[in-house]
Amino acid sequence: MSISKVLVVDDEPDLRTISRLSLERVGGWKTFLAGSGKEALEVAERELPDVILLDVMMPGMDGPTTLLEIRKRAALANIRVVFLTAKVQKHEVQAYVEMGASGVIPKPFDPMKLPSELRRLLGEEG
């Protein structure tokens, strides 16, 4: 399933901007943004993106909680989720995958390589 719409969830506006620039300009995808887990659920239900890039550490509802909420909603159940985090210890990655995440992209990331990294994780090389 090819990617056309990506939702970026991050409490840092600058990173949302960087991510949007990277995904739109380098990846060529339509990108939506959310500043919190709560907003992410709203945007996702409205736009139904193909992929959600989810920051782990956020005030209020954090990344993993947001993922659980997403999985609770039938409409969103099939949306793939990739975590974006500084916490890249192997056991953490393992835990996220078990929760239903498609992968983890470590921060800081290279915005020029983010789309290709995303494709690699989702098995959509090329």
Binding site: D14, I18, L21, R25, V26, H91, P108, D110, P111, M112
Partner: protein
């Protein structure tokens, strides 16, 4: 014939008979005249004065016969002696007792006998006054009385003579006796004295009666004699001892036995010379006093009483034993320039005014020093021998006394030795009669004791000052231990607590008494094993456990726990081996550390977020997302990007160092081929340093598997490579070699840079250590890389080290192939 019986009192009678001394004595006219007178008066042919002893009758006087004695068993007189009454036999042939008596049947053919007993005043019948005839006769009553009268007359005469003899014997005895004898009038006047007085006291009889007791006895005894004589007179006493003066000088001790004769109203005195005995007793008493004094001084020494009292006791004993009125005992001390002086420790107080009293008071506490040796006692020190001066006033050796000092009549100074060393000196004065060599000999054992005691006193002083110093130092130490904020606990190898300082009770919330019953293992536990202090049982001084501080957990009495830093030390006191734990509550330090660590962590995290944005933005610019950049701006964006990457690495390193410090560096173990990790590290380096001319070469001839954390090994390798790259000259190579070596995988990173300056080699793994800190900054880094690498390798159970060779440096780390340290799991 009936032989005469023996009277009941025969033995006493015979003794009485002997007292008269009449048996076998010469004929005496007075008795011969008696018998003649009686024979004529009674008109009988024979008259006798007969005494009867054990076996015979012996005639003191006889008239009419020539025999001087006959056997007792045939004697008529024996019957008078036996019966104690007169015997009259008118006709022996009519009397069965006598008819066959040989004196009747043969010569002198006695037909008539009449005998009157010779009675002593005590009633003993000594014999008879008897008359005999050769024809039968009768005796009228008045005739018997006449005979008895003569018998009494004989006895009176004998009695008088006996008394005269006794008197003469006594007189001779009185004169010849080697004892004193005297007869004293009620007034005390000496009526008679025997020659012993003259011989022993050298007074004539005339002088004796002239001088009387008052002039003959020691002045101190005159009153005593008067009283004693009164007591003898009243029967209260039978004797007294007194000093009898000798003419000229001296005296004798005489012990008098006395008895009063009320009839004559005189007192008889017999005395004997007990001078020797008194002297011996006095000597014994002196010796005894001396011994008592020595033993008391010695017991003082043993009981360690105040040394000042030893000398006082010795001096008192010395004065008693020598009969001296004052004296001193002192120590000979070496003064300035080796000049000895006397330090008096005991001195008779002969203070005569306030000033001298002050001086004597000083003696009791510290001793008085006498430095002038130009006098009698000084002489003892300089000659090291005894000085006897019985006439000090004319003695050239004397030094003079201060005005007011009691007069010096006689002086004895004696040196006290310990071995060959002159340690002290004693002096005594004013013994009555002066001092003698005999006295010096007598004092010999005392001197030895004094020497020993002075020596002991010195030792004691030394020991006391040493003890005092020791005590002070101990008090200081104790104060330090008591004041210490750290708990200090001493315990034996079984863990039984022996001692604990006040901080221990505070820290553990336990009373001292409770602590002393506790095991150290109930206070301190090792959180890693939770086995208490079991491990201490096997602790040896060379174990890491002893000496270096370890982090343990302290347990309070309420069960609550606190982090404790504990150093253990071995302590040998005497032969007792103890362990001492110094326990510091590091809760506060831990809290601060945690705060710091959390702070660093959160700051790092906060830094990372904007860094991500910066790097992202720069990356996008560099990637031309915002449009192609001109060469100038593009170069600047690259520069900013490189710095942002460095900053990211620095933040990562600081986060890692924080984890290393907190021990929370996590490891995830798996089967790893270190060659793969090395290849990845090299690839990363090439990617990062794409512009460098340094070449990375991997030398990995075979797969090297081990169980380890690949990400951490990658981190180590990246740090080492990064470090090597920094110091590599352009166009040089960096070789990475991975090999196996007996249970380990060895990875070596070698550069061809300038090497590590020798002065820096010891600090290579310190944090923020950089060799060229003061130089122009050729290369840059965080200064944390090697430190983190070492911490990671250590915790993976390996070892990281370096060596510098000609033209290069090699960092090499080895990792165990099997399993890594348990602590790393987690």
């Amino acid at each position: 014939m009936k032989p005469p019986a023996l009277p009941e009192n025969e033995v006493k009678r015979l003794n009485a008979l002997r007292r008269y001394g009449v048996l076998d004595s010469e004929a005496e006219l007075v008795f011969d005249e008696f018998v003649e007178l009686v024979a004529r008066t009674f008109e009988v042919p024979v008259a006798l004065i007969s005494f009867v002893d054990e076996g015979r009758q012996w005639f003191k006087s006889r008239y009419g016969i020539s025999a001087s004695e006959t056997p007792r068993e045939v004697s008529f007189c024996g019957h008078v002696v036996a019966d104690g009454v007169p015997l009259i036999v008118e006709d022996t042939r009519e009397d069965v007792r006598f008819l066959d008596n040989p004196l009747v049947t043969g010569g002198p053919k006695i037909r008539f006998y009449a005998g009157a007993p010779l009675l002593t005043p005590e009633g003993y019948v000594l014999g008879t006054f008897c008359v005999i005839d050769q024809r039968p006769r009768t005796l009228r009553a008045e005739q018997l009385e006449t005979l008895q009268l003569f018998a009494r007359q004989v006895m009176r005469t004998l009695e008088l003579r006996r008394q005269r003899i006794a008197a003469e014997t006594y007189r001779r005895l009185f004169a010849a006796a080697q004892t004193f004898a005297a007869i004293v009038a009620p007034t005390g006047e000496i009526l008679e004295s025997n020659p012993v007085w003259g011989q022993h006291l050298r007074f004539s009889v005339g002088e004796i009666s002239l001088l009387g007791w008052g002039g003959l006895v020691h002045a101190d005894d005159v009153a005593g004699v008067k009283t004693a004589l009164e007591r003898v007179k009243s029967g209260e006493s039978t004797g007294f001892d007194v000093r009898m003066l000798k003419k000229g000088e001296g005296f004798l001790w005489v012990s008098w036995s006395a008895s009063h004769d009320p009839a004559e109203n005189v007192t008889y005195l017999v005395g004997h010379d007990i001078t020797e005995r008194v002297r011996a007793a006095e000597g014994a008493q002196q010796s005894h006093a001396l011994l008592a004094c020595i033993s008391e001084a010695q017991s003082c020494l043993i009981e360690q009483r105040d040394p000042g009292t030893w000398f006082q006791l010795l001096l008192e004993g010395l004065l008693r034993a020598t009969g001296s009125s004052y004296g001193f005992i002192g120590e000979v001390v070496e003064g300035e320039a080796g000049k000895p002086y006397l330090k008096c420790h005991a001195l008779s107080d002969v203070a005569w005014d306030e000033a001298s009293r002050e001086v004597y008071r000083g003696a009791a506490t510290t001793g008085i020093a006498f430095r002038n040796l130009d006098n009698l006692f000084g002489r003892v020190i300089t000659t090291r021998s005894a000085v006897i001066a019985n006439e000090p006033s004319s003695d050239h050796r004397r030094g003079g006394l201060p005005p007011g000092h009691p007069p010096l009549k006689a002086f004895l100074g004696l040196p006290l030795f310990m071995g060959d060393a002159l340690v002290g000196l004693l002096g005594v004065a004013n013994r009555e009669g002066g001092y003698s060599e005999e006295l010096v000999a007598f004092l010999e054992p005392f001197l030895a004791t004094c020497g020993t005691i002075i020596q002991a006193f010195r030792t004691q002083e030394l020991r006391a000052s040493a003890e005092k110093a020791l005590q002070q130092s101990e008090e200081r130490l104790r104060a330090v231990v008591d004041a210490a904020g750290d708990a200090i606990i001493a315990f034996d190898k079984e863990g039984n607590i022996q001692r604990a300082n006040p901080a221990t009770t505070r820290l553990f919330g336990r009373e001292l008494a409770e602590l002393l019953k506790s095991q150290v293992g109930s206070l301190l536990i090792d959180p890693r094993s939770d086995l208490g202090m079991e491990f201490l049982k096997h602790a040896r001084p060379d174990d890491g456990l002893i000496g270096a501080p370890v982090e343990l957990v302290g347990v309070r009495s309420d069960g609550s726990r606190f982090p404790a830093e504990v150093s253990f030390n071995n302590v040998e006191v005497g032969s007792q081996h103890s362990l001492v734990a110094v326990v510091r509550d590091i809760s506060e330090r831990k809290r601060v550390e945690r705060l710091k660590s959390e702070f660093v962590s959160s700051v790092s995290h906060e830094l990372r977020t904007p860094l991500t944005a910066i790097r992202g933005a720069l990356g996008l610019l560099d990637g031309g997302v915002a449009g192609e950049l001109a060469e100038g701006p593009r170069e600047m964006v690259r520069m900013a990007l490189m710095s942002a990457r460095r900053l990211t690495r620095l933040v990562d390193d600081i986060l890692d160092i924080g984890k290393v410090e907190r021990g929370t560096l996590n490891f995830e173990l798996s089967q790893v081929d270190v060659c793969d990790v090395a290849a990845r590290a090299i690839a990363d380096m090439r990617a990062i340093h794409s512009t460098t001319s340094v070449a990375f070469v991997l030398d990995a001839p075979e797969p090297c598997w081990c169980i380890t954390d690949p990400e951490r090994v990658l981190q180590v390798l990246t740090n080492l490579l990064s470090n090597a790259q920094k110091f590599s000259p352009a166009a040089s190579t960096i070789e990475v070699r991975v090999t196996k070596k007996s249970g380990f995988v060895v990875t070596a990173v070698t550069d061809h840079g300038p090497g590590i300056p020798s002065e820096f080699q010891g600090r290579v793994f310190e944090r923020f250590a950089q060799a060229d800190a003061s130089d122009e900054r050729h290369v840059s880094g965080t200064g944390l890389g090697l430190s983190i690498a070492k911490a990671i390798v250590d915790q993976l159970g390996g070892r990281l080290d370096f060596r510098c060779t000609e033209g290069g440096t090699t960092f090499e780390f080895e990792l165990p192939i099997g399993s890594v340290n348990n602590e790393a799991k987690g």
